[in-house]
Symmetry: C2
Subunit: 256 residues, 2 copies
């Protein structure tokens, strides 16, 4: 039996990047798509608990089913695994995102929220992002990398509790120098809310911001991307900072 590949994203079921990913995945197995009905960027690992979810069947074929769900990317993964996958998926994919999810952006990313959720369910999973925000972005340059990485993971599997955050530079396939295993670069969003006044004289604030990453080291994803490489960051869902244990010891107490 062919492997089953579950695919979601955060740009919505109609996104061009999702269609590109489905095309590559179908070379490897049967595909179920469960993607947000509309754009769900910036939704991180959020869940829908205050209302129920609705699902719309977009397309149903022998080797490919496409559903749209009015929840978050994490909701999509959970609901698809339980109700819409005819068997356990061999792999969960998310993307191809229109825009970078490198470095600290993994915190905010709905694309990567879905990937990490799949890991918590015990499934191998990969998030793909192209460094091009344009809704009409050309995904042809990244397809060889996507194909290589999907093929590798289906053949070799991933370490327990590890998923992959793959970012791909905006280059023609021939210009991409290769694939590098990287760590997240240390970076920051310098926020700057733009305050405006509405016609009734009341203030409101629009979030804007500037991504700042000074001197990324050569093993970081930002360095790889800036130098023409695909960055692959292994991700795990445990936020514990083990290095901090000793320095926090003096806080412990047996009396309060």
């Amino acid at each position: 039996m062919k492997p089953l590949i579950l695919i979601t994203n955060d740009d919505g079921v109609a996104a061009k990047g999702l269609r590109a990913l489905v095309e590559v995945a179908m070379e490897f197995g049967d595909v179920v798509v469960m993607a947000p009905t509309a754009n769900a960027s910036g939704q991180s690992h959020s869940l829908t608990t205050t209302r129920p979810l609705r699902v719309h069947e977009v397309k149903k074929e022998e080797y490919r089913s496409i559903y749209a769900c009015d929840g978050t990317p994490v909701d999509c993964v959970k609901l698809a695994v339980e109700y819409f996958c005819p068997r356990q998926p061999s792999l969960v994919l998310s993307g191809i995102n229109h825009g970078s999810n490198s470095s600290i952006n993994v915190l905010y990313s709905g694309t990567m929220g879905a990937v990490i959720e799949a890991t918590t369910l015990g499934l191998d999973s990969i998030g793909f992002s192209l460094l091009n925000h344009n809704p009409e972005a050309d995904f042809s340059g990244c397809l060889p990398s996507v194909r290589h990485i999907i093929g590798y993971v289906l053949k070799h599997g991933l370490p327990t509790d590890v998923s992959l955050n793959v970012n791909i530079p905006r280059l023609d396939a021939g210009a991409i120098k290769g694939i590098k295993i990287c760590h997240e670069a240390k970076a920051q969003w310098r926020d700057s809310f733009e305050k405006r006044i509405d016609p009734q004289g009341r203030p409101y604030w629009w979030l804007t911001g500037k991504f700042v990453c000074d001197n990324p080291d050569e093993t970081s994803d930002e360095w790889a991307l800036a130098n023409g490489y695909v960055s692959v960051v292994p991700i795990h869902p445990d936020f514990t900072c083990y290095e901090a244990f000793n320095s926090l010891k003096p806080m412990t107490t047996d009396s309060l």
Copy 2:
């Protein structure tokens, strides 16, 4: 000048746990509250980018200002730091959450999303959660622990890029055995969507689930909480799994 403490939560500006945290924080400094107008549980690290934010001034006093914002907990931190704090906060607090944010729940938690966001802005930050979901929960038992930890962090600071995830068992203060530095227990949500049919005959799905944590080891937060201790997990915002680098080496390539 007294330290400035910024406080947010994900249960909303009217939550009892927020009021309890404000009372303790005012023993240490001036307080600015910027909390979601309504309940924002399960919103993780999500951001609002598709509409602007509105802010409502709830209370303005010399040593305490309280604002409500119609965004996520992460939005609240970003906007408060830029526009509503009269000076750089010495500490950012989130909570006291009504219900646990231990173990894997940090992924979904709006309370902890706000805390991690503050870390990315270079600010010391702590999330507090009481293991009691009840909106009328009694917070008196956890106040000595909250006071101890805030006092410690204001005096000694936190390691760079590290915040604290503090969970407190549902016990009287005298019954709490002490404070332990822990790692996140390995746990899982076993989801089970409940499918229902609406009066028009169309299906919809409600998210439900069961938290499963088998045999947590003695250095984990779940063990500490089950045995009467307050758990303090140092958290960092880098999801990279460095241990996986070697095993993924064979995936790298210089030709595609």
